[in-house]
């Protein structure tokens, strides 16, 4: 009796220690995010004061978000730029890596393995080292300062990961499924679209999330390749606001911008966590 009570106390202590550590650590990781989001809803004047306490004392307000309208062409132009860039990067990454993954998984052609290794090995080359030539090539193509240009760059940067994911996804589908459909006389594209796509959908979702997060958050390439202020994406605009290019720094507005940039990432991750972690660990296990 006494012994079991002692064991019970020990277990209780262990549980308390576990949750104690967990809660403190979780607080440390979540606090900056929460602080920023809470402050973005303070009235503008209050947001200029140190955020103690972080929640709005003078009442909940969307003034900081309204203030974002006064920068350049207004925040919605830049949000639309960011959204367009991300959406097209997602669509193009998915389509191109779906085709390439299928090609690399199911067909035989000369230099197949060499080409696959070539595409995958581009991850080893930092894109930061080829930004100048990229700038010149986009200029030659008449795509400098266009969202199309930056989408093409982002898609290329996503390709090694996306193709790796998609080829693995196709490799995991038994060949018999496809053969049966082919015997019935379906064309290659019908097989790919009707039969294979549903089977590799988890891989597609993974590719799409990574493409979205990478393009939505990318800063350096956008800073260099988009020099026309109307074409800025959100990170480039907000960095310009922070550096004082639009006058005195309005920290409330900056935090509203930060919240705007973080929100889609956090929501998408929380909804599609499983697919994101799968993509992350695919590289770690291989």
């Amino acid at each position: 009796m006494a012994r079991s009570r002692k064991a019970g106390t020990l277990r209780l202590l262990d549980v308390a220690r576990y949750h104690g550590i967990g809660i403190v650590a979780a607080f440390l990781f979540l606090a900056p995010l929460a602080w920023s989001i809470l402050v973005s809803f303070k009235p503008s004047v209050e947001a200029r004061q140190p955020p103690l306490p972080p929640w709005p004392v003078g009442g909940f307000s969307t003034q900081n978000y309204a203030n974002l309208e006064q920068y350049g062409s207004g925040i919605w132009t830049y949000a639309a730029n960011s959204l367009a860039v991300s959406a097209w990067t997602v669509v193009a990454s998915v389509v191109i890596s779906l085709l390439a993954g299928y090609g690399f998984s199911r067909f035989r052609f000369p230099f197949k393995n060499v080409l696959f290794v070539l595409v995958i090995s581009t991850v080893m080359i930092p894109f930061q080292s080829i930004l100048t030539p990229l700038f010149l090539i986009l200029t030659k193509l008449g795509l400098q300062n266009t969202l199309t240009g930056i989408v093409l760059v982002y898609v290329t940067l996503q390709l090694p990961f996306s193709i790796f994911m998609m080829r693995n996804a196709f490799d995991a589908v038994p060949k018999e499924i496809e053969d049966a459909a082919r015997v019935d006389g379906a064309s290659v594209f019908v097989v790919l679209y009707r039969i294979m796509l549903p089977l590799v959908l988890p891989g597609v979702v993974t590719v799409a999330i990574f493409a979205f997060l990478a393009s939505w958050n990318e800063f350096l390439a956008a800073l260099i390749l988009l020099t026309d202020q109307n074409k800025y994406t959100l990170p480039v605009l907000m960095a310009a606001v922070r550096s004082g290019q639009f006058g005195t720094i309005d920290w409330g507005a900056v935090q509203a911008g930060v919240a705007l940039m973080m929100a889609p990432c956090l929501v998408l991750f929380l909804l599609l966590q499983r697919y994101y972690i799968r993509g992350l660990t695919a590289g770690a296990v291989k």
Partner: protein, 308 residues
């Protein structure tokens, strides 16, 4: 290996060889869009970057071939080597710091217990926020007037007056290190977690039965069996840190007194603020060489499981 379409067995008739050729063509067509993008936006730029590095290449006007002139100049560029030294220093410190946080987190998050999903998600959330957003967030937290840290330290009586954390090299540097650890520890935790979970529980149990202490089991079983995972996390962290830019540009603007200008930052300012495109390319080539060297070492470490 990849399951591939095998040519039909039996006598190869003209029909099957035509079919084979059509199949090859189809395969090439499927990978063609991807290959053209990689060629146009990766392979060609890479060749161009090397070609440009041999030139005096202004933004406007004619470029002039100068052989290895840029590389000679680079060897004597004090700011470049200062940036390089700073980048290496930052990489070493931040990598150690990330591991010091991520490893305990992975051990903590390993077993499935109540609320573990919540804790893992909480530790991971900063990872999905962009480096740009995270930098802007921390630029504010570190601000002397409107931020959190210095006013809070003053109110708690830790400092006599508000300290401008971004006015001094050490406080700027360590603030950014803390921010990066906050942002990336969750990522490394997940990588390490996959390694931890691949170790069979039987091995751990057997060692426990034999009377091995917790520390002994960690040192003799966990660490050696996680060698590949640790190498992977290490390389990702080192490569990422060597290319650091966003946080130093947004939070510190390279300051105070250019003391936090990283290698990529210096390439950026030479290429796109001073428009020395040829010289910037030469700097890029050197950085690229260093990064590829790191990748090759990574592959070495990952390839022979026994001889670390």
């Amino acid at each position: 290996m990849t399951p591939e379409q095998q040519p039909r067995s039996g006598t190869p008739t003209r029909r099957t060889s035509a079919k084979l050729r059509r199949n090859q063509l189809a395969g090439l067509l499927f990978v063609a869009p991807a290959l053209s993008l990689v060629l146009l936006f990766f392979v060609i730029p890479l060749g161009m970057a090397f070609w440009m590095s041999l030139h005096n290449w202004p933004l406007l006007g004619k470029s002039r071939f100068i052989g290895f002139g840029n590389y000679v100049r680079l060897a004597q560029d004090v700011q470049f080597w200062t940036s390089m030294r700073f980048t290496v220093y930052y990489t070493l410190i931040v990598t150690v710091a990330i591991f010091a946080v991520a490893f305990p987190l992975a051990l903590f998050a390993e077993k499935s217990r109540p609320l573990i999903k919540f804790y893992r998600t909480a530790f991971f959330l900063p990872v999905v926020v962009g480096f740009g957003s995270a930098s802007l967030l921390w630029a504010w937290l570190l601000d002397v007037d409107s931020g959190l840290f210095s006013p809070a330290a003053e109110q708690l009586g830790l400092t006599d007056k508000r300290v401008n954390l971004l006015a001094d090299f050490d406080t700027t540097f360590w603030s950014i290190v803390i921010m990066v650890v906050w942002k990336t520890a969750g990522f490394n935790m997940i990588i390490l977690l996959t390694g931890l979970q691949s170790i069979s529980t039987e091995v751990q149990e057997a060692a426990r039965m034999d009377g091995a202490s917790g520390w002994q089991r960690f040192r003799r079983i966990t660490l050696p069996l996680m060698r590949r995972t640790i190498a992977l996390a290490l390389i990702l962290s080192v490569a990422g840190s060597m290319l650091a830019f966003d946080q130093f540009y947004i939070i510190a603007d390279g300051g105070p007194q250019n003391s936090t200008v990283t290698a990529v930052y210096w390439i950026f300012s030479q290429s796109f603020m001073s428009f020395h495109l040829g010289y910037g390319s030469a700097l890029s080539m050197v950085l690229l060489g260093i990064l590829v060297l790191i990748s090759v070492i990574q592959l070495r470490l990952l390839r022979n499981p026994e001889g670390m």
